[in-house]
């Protein structure tokens, strides 16, 4: 059972592929998502950007389809939200379709898992598109520029330090053979989870999936593991000038991997610090006119992860006005327990946002896919998560803050007006 009366059925195949199906006939459509446990952390130094590049290449030619045919056939079948996205630990390929298109999508998705053809022409024209995307997301976007710099400061060994889209010099040096090797090593059934949610019959889906994917051989290559990030022993700080209207400050801390039982506490902390309108930093910084906006978030990565606090300053205000207030807010939270009321409000807001995320079939599929990638267990993203949230106490929050929010684990990046 996932929530309410909604239940998921799981099928594991001999080649390692996992299928999760949720039957829901609330609309004559279904969401189909393929999640790979492959992200930018599985790349090698000097070859950054490959995982993201597959977000583009997997829409190209296969042994059985022409370049562009994948998208054309799905669009003609009435696809909605046809897309893909890449993270540090995963890549997902998503679409929703009218119910009668189930055999089509199973055929096309199973085909590109095993038969992708990477030819030079398509490779280089798509690489130019990715370079253009990098200009948009990183180089001409101050937030992208600053985040890239912050992760480079915080992670000096682990691949979480490099940008998902890749470094410009690595994109310049990328060759088709690098992509072919990455595809063969990583895009294999034991690294994938197929999630189907909607107006389908689970047994029928499992038969079709078995027929289409069952003969794809298990990979012979283990996913590349990442070198551990050595413990940070002193605070780090960098100031950089960028094309922004007012300064920005990013303060981050190393936190445990998403599998940790403390993960739920970080979500509550996001709410208490910044993501609610009544949060502590909003009151201290926005309501007092020091900052125009604040943010907080945990990245929920599979290797030791990161918690980030951001503030965009008001005109004429200095990072020196704001940084001490962020640090003193964290100190207060370490020293004085939250009230039950503040904790309960934060929990309620998280419950609201969680249920809202399940409104669309694609939202349910997303929660299932991300739970599988993060925990290898759907239940963990649904009931267990809710139970952990229910059980969280002010004392636990205080202990989490004391354990992870130490000065030596902090990296600070200040973006100044160029």
């Amino acid at each position: 059972m996932l929530y309410g009366t909604t239940r998921a059925q799981q099928f594991d195949y001999t080649n390692g592929l996992r299928l999760v199906v949720v039957e829901d006939s609330s609309s004559p459509t279904f969401a189909y998502q393929t999640w790979f446990r492959v992200g930018s952390k599985n790349e090698e130094k000097g070859h950054t950007g490959l995982a993201h590049f597959f977000e583009h290449l997997l829409f190209k030619r296969t042994k059985n389809t022409q370049d562009g045919e994948f998208m054309k056939r799905l669009e003609k079948a009435g696809s909605d939200g046809l897309n893909a996205f890449t993270g540090k630990d995963m890549t997902a390929y998503i679409q929703s379709l009218p119910k009668k298109a189930l055999p089509l999508i199973i055929k096309l998705e199973s085909d590109r898992m095993q038969n992708l053809v990477i030819d030079d022409k398509a490779f280089y024209s798509e690489l130019a598109v990715v370079k253009n995307e990098r200009l948009m997301r990183q180089d001409n976007n101050p937030d992208g520029t600053l985040l890239e710099a912050l992760f480079a400061l915080a992670y000096q060994v682990h691949p979480y330090g490099w940008p998902i889209i890749g470094f410009p010099e690595d994109l310049d040096a990328m060759k088709p053979e690098h992509a072919k090797k990455f595809y063969q090593e990583n895009y294999t059934p034991e690294n994938a989870i197929v999630v189907v949610v909607g107006d389908v019959n689970a047994k029928k889906v499992s038969e079709l999936v078995d027929h289409a994917y069952g003969s794809i051989p298990r990979g012979t290559h283990k996913l590349r593991t990442s070198p551990p990030e050595p413990p940070q022993d002193k605070p780090r700080r960098r100031v950089m000038k960028v094309q922004i209207s007012t300064p920005k400050i990013f303060i981050g801390y190393h936190i445990p991997p998403v599998q940790s039982e403390d993960t739920v506490a970080f979500e509550v902390l996001e709410t208490i610090l910044a993501s609610s309108q009544n949060s502590r930093l909003r009151k201290k910084l926005v309501d007092t006119g020091l900052a125009s906006d604040v943010g907080a978030g945990s990245f929920q990565n599979s290797d030791p992860s990161y918690f980030l606090i951001t503030a965009k300053l008001q005109e004429g205000k200095s990072p020196d006005d704001v940084e001490p207030l962020i640090l003193s807010t964290l100190k207060e939270l370490r020293e004085v327990s939250l009230s039950d009321a503040e904790l309960e409000s934060a929990k309620n807001l998280i419950r609201l946002r969680f249920y809202s995320s399940l409104e669309k079939l694609s939202g349910v599929a997303y929660q299932i896919g991300s739970s599988e990638v993060k925990f290898g267990d759907i239940k963990r993203g649904f009931q267990t998560y809710q139970e952990q949230l229910d059980r969280l106490t002010p004392e636990k929050m205080k202990s989490v803050l004391t354990t992870y929010f130490k000065d030596e684990q902090r990296s600070t990046l200040v973006g100044e007006v160029k």
């Binding site: 009435g78 929703s96 253009n132 995307e133 001409n140 309108q277 009544n278 005109e315 409000s345 309620n348």
Partner: protein, 449 residues
Amino acid sequence: MKAFFISITLLLAVAPLSRAVEVTFERNTNLPLVYINVLGKFGSVQDPAHKEGLTLLAAESLLRGTTKHTKQEIQALLESYGAEIEIDTRAEMTVIRGRTLQSNLDPFLNLLEELVVDSVLTPQEFKKQKEEQQAKVQSMLDQDWQVALLHYNRALFGTHPYGSPIDGTLKSLKTISLEDVLAQKKRILQKGTLTVIGSGDAKEKRISQFAKSLEKRLPNGEAFAKVQPPKPLLSRKVVLVDKPDRTQLQVVLAQIGLLPTDPRYFAFYLANNAYGGGGFTTRLFNQLRKANGWTYSAYSQMMLGQQPRSWTSHISPKNTDLLPSLSKLLQVHQEFLTSGITEEEFLFGKEQITQKEGFLIDTPRKRAENAILEKALGLSKGFMSSYASQISKLKLKQVNAAARAAIPGDGLLILVVGTASIVKKDLAKATQVAEDQIEVIPFDQLDLP
């Protein structure tokens, strides 16, 4: 522009509004949530000239205090309920979007009613609100695509209200006083301007009670004058929005578009689907992105309004690709408006849109959003879910007639956000407009003279 608004005020006195707050609610018990939207049929088009941002400030002030609660107390109450409220102001509508855990629906609705009918704005809170809004406008200018959006509306519509930045400008926000905001709030919050639309785990009777209670406590008012149709450009206009240190450009072609009630609307929609509106198989995608790798974004879109708004095409090449990519974009655009689409594209688009029908109405929330748009734009009930049935009836001849003739005027706005000293020469070459005929505007200059 000022004269335009004076004439509206005179007109309003003779047009009383309906006295009912309408309700549309769909019960759905799948999740323990309730969504309540209070739609106001007003937006930035109600901003007087040089006071851009006024309606947004007036609407957003509802969250900044009531006769019973301060802003902080309101937010604390909402969070304790597991609820959120945000204000979404657009050109011709403002939506108070609320959502709550079902278990706290009653206190949530009581608070929402209090915000709509008992809000107050103190001078201290107004000062904060203005500072926050000014900072938001500054932040928007940090994002190149936002700069492009703000400037193409201004350049295309000029002094027409569709050209006004919804969030205001740094200069206009400075001129807005507390009295302006209070007067605008009084003007917009009236019985006939509001509709309640929602979905979720609640009984319609409870939502109707909420609407009736609003109705009882809101004053009667006067209708807003209808916005006049914008005038199309008469000739090609090239605008270069100058922003330092850009290595990538935002390029927009813009023209006045179509009314959704225009008999050619669905035919043009289908034509545009093949040109740039239909996803990853369009002409813009294939010729600008796939074939040449010039741009990540390549799409076209039609904005809908009570009057024709914009029809635009977008690409984002790097500086050195401006000349070939813009030349190609202009060629594809011209071919489309001259020759329309092929039979293959017509059949493909028809199939795509009709097969996609289920997604027009696949969740209660989407059905509520459709109702919001229909009410706000004065469209008939069911308009938003009728695309598939309308498009299935079309013939290629109608579609190409619409592509050739539906877009009014010969004028085309070509707008580029980039660093003028680097790209002006190539822009002149690509557009065949002399360099001294290109209008160069600083990226942070959005005010009317």
